[in-house]
Amino acid sequence: MTSTAPPTARATPARRRRTPRDRGMNRAFRLVSTGSGALILAVLAAVAIFLVARAWPALTTPGAEIAQDVGWFPADASFLSFVGPLVFGTLLAAVLALVMAVPLSIGIALFISHYAPRRLATALGYAVDLLAAIPSVVYGLWGAMTLVGFVGPIWEWLASFLGWIPLFEGPAATPARVMLTAAVVLAVMILPIITAVCREVFLQTPKLHEEAALALGATRWEMIRTAVLPFARSGIVSGAMLGLGRALGETMAVLMILSPGFLYSFAILQAGQQQTIAANIAAQYADAAPIGVSTLIATGLALFVITMAVNMAARAIVARRKDFSGAN
């Protein structure tokens, strides 16, 4: 990339401030935007400080003492052995949702960007965006009241024919208040955001690349495979990470659908096996004693750290891939 601006244009801010044009609205706008940028950092820092400060009592109190005051805290556990299964459950739910949602999203986005007639594409785009506008509590209600009954027989079938895979180990629970059902709802919830990102990236594929592929005799599928997907790879990853972020923190839907348990278990068709951090906080917060609240906030801190790590990893992947994406 060649820069058109000479390096001297990026001279020290001190000099810029003294230029006669940095006055009035110009100056005000610069301050406002700088302030906005600083504010977001301040908010993030405030949240982090709050989490650490409120979680501190739970982190420093021995598990046995917490268990005395808090009914749901296992008597022989330390904080780490308490939060471990929750982290596991959170990651399992999010990964399952992602595994289901990403291929589907790519398919929808490709259909909208490269296959559908223009009118249909617009309508479908709106419909997908609309999915994002549905509140999660509605998804939870739908999942708990309708989907649970609908998927029950399917899960039973899975358990009886694919039960030899640890993931689908039976017997399938009735009603199907299990991890797989929750993951399906999570997948539907993160579908719109991943689809929207993918669609935008697919549409930005340079027309020249596509036409070149077609001119060389590629079919439409080959064109997508050789021109569109490589170009969009980093976009797909960042879309997936955005979805993962939402799936990690989703509360209401999981709370209403899943029968919680605190095990390191891959049995996603059985009830009472896993629980996510966010749903656990919502379930136990209302009646918790002070040290219980602190324990829950400490699990929230763990979720905060996980989400940050995931987002930073995504950033790193996107940044690394940028050079090889074929965008240049």
Partner: protein, 372 residues
């Protein structure tokens, strides 16, 4: 214009805040909160001021009905109730943060001793004002009612009995055609007074069928669970062969279990629930008006239904200022009155307390006074 309106709102807010501050502590002697506070006990309709309570969320719906009824009878009174949970409510009460507490367990001996200081060396008054029968509900096609003893129910919830046509169930229900459907027990996933009373019943009446102690958190690991009574009902309805426990008012169309009391099987009823509170002995060594009950789960009297949830309203017999004493007195009198109990019954599906208990409780309420 704008400014003046602003300041009026501001003044009102400050006044409200001041009221809240003065009355949050029952040991407060600041008279700002009590315009109706006089030395003579005032009539109910002359009450005014603000009263704060906190505690059990189980009686939240009933307390809402009581607050509404009491406030509409006394226009100048504001009653606040924060459903923080029994533990939180009792803690706030013992620290003097609220004037009364709701709790789904009676105070422990230690807590009664602790209450001495906040109650100015007076007695603490505990009234079992909210009685709710707990129904064992199930969803099994073609079966509306089953007869089970506590040991069998315990084994079902412990996962020891796994099919509906198990001999233990069939023997007690010779007239019912039981399918071989698997049993799915459902429990509360959140801490709950309902769970505590249910497990208490199983532990005391269930003999060898239930090896656990009473606990707010369901002691058996794994299995189906749901948050709140509504979640329980939804889960039981959504499955086949499911069984759980819930406030009887929420049982709806689900099948319910008649539990074995003595030699008979008794279905849940408000009368049976009120009767068990009457026949249960009081906790010994307490004050005259401390109606803490030792619920008789193993009752053999078939007119009683021992699987009940009882929550108490807890107050001091002595308050620092007359206004608070009058307000507590007024509110509690309304709660135990026939009208108040009926309001709770229609709002929360609780069982109205008996006339005997009402008479006793009223005597306790009349003893509430300000420090002289």
């Amino acid at each position: 214009m704008k400014l003046s309106r602003f300041s009026r709102v501001g003044a009102a807010a400050v006044a409200t805040g001041a009221l809240a501050l003065t009355l949050t502590a029952c040991g407060s002697d600041d008279p700002v909160g009590s315009t109706g506070g006089s030395d003579a006990p005032s009539e109910a309709s002359e009450l005014s001021g603000e009263l704060n309570g906190a505690g059990s969320s189980a009686q939240e719906a009933a307390m809402d009905a009581w607050r509404a009824g009491f406030q509409s009878a006394n226009g100048d009174v504001t009653v606040n109730y924060d459903p923080v949970g029994s533990g939180g409510g009792v803690t706030q009460f013992l620290k003097g943060g609220v004037a009364f507490a709701g709790s789904d367990a009676a105070l422990s001996d230690d807590e009664v001793a602790e209450a001495k200081s906040v109650c100015l060396d007076g007695d603490v008054i505990e009234l079992p004002v909210y009685i709710s029968p707990i129904a064992v509900v199930f969803n099994l096609e073609g079966v509306d009612s089953l007869n089970l003893d506590a040991a069998t129910i315990g084994k079902i919830f412990d996962g020891k009995i796994t099919t509906w046509n198990d001999p233990a169930i069939a023997d007690q229900n010779p007239d019912v055609d039981l399918p071989d459907t698997a049993i799915t027990p459902v429990h509360r996933s959140d801490e709950s007074g309902t769970t505590k009373n249910f497990t208490d019943y199983l532990a005391k009446a269930g003999a060898d069928g239930w090896p656990y102690e009473a606990d707010k958190v369901f002691p058996v690991e794994g299995g189906q669970s749901a948050k709140g009574t509504s979640g329980i009902i939804q889960t039981v309805t959504g499955g086949q062969g499911t069984i759980s426990y819930a406030d009887s008012s929420q049982a709806g169309d689900l099948g319910t279990v008649a539990i074995k009391v003595g030699d008979e099987y008794v279905a849940h009823s408000p009368e049976g629930a009120a009767a068990i509170v009457d026949t249960s002995p009081r906790v010994e060594g307490r004050g005259e008006f401390d109606f803490a009950m030792e619920l008789d789960r193993t009752s053999t009297d078939p007119s009683t239904y021992p699987l009940v949830l009882v929550t108490y309203d807890i107050a001091c017999a002595t308050y620092e200022d007359q206004a608070t004493a009058d307000l507590v007195k007024g509110l509690f009198s309304y709660i135990v009155s026939e009208e108040g109990q009926q309001a709770a019954a229609s709002a929360a599906g609780s069982a109205p307390i008996s006339d005997t208990l009402r008479t006793n409780a009223q005597a306790g309420i009349d003893a509430i006074s300000a420090k002289s």
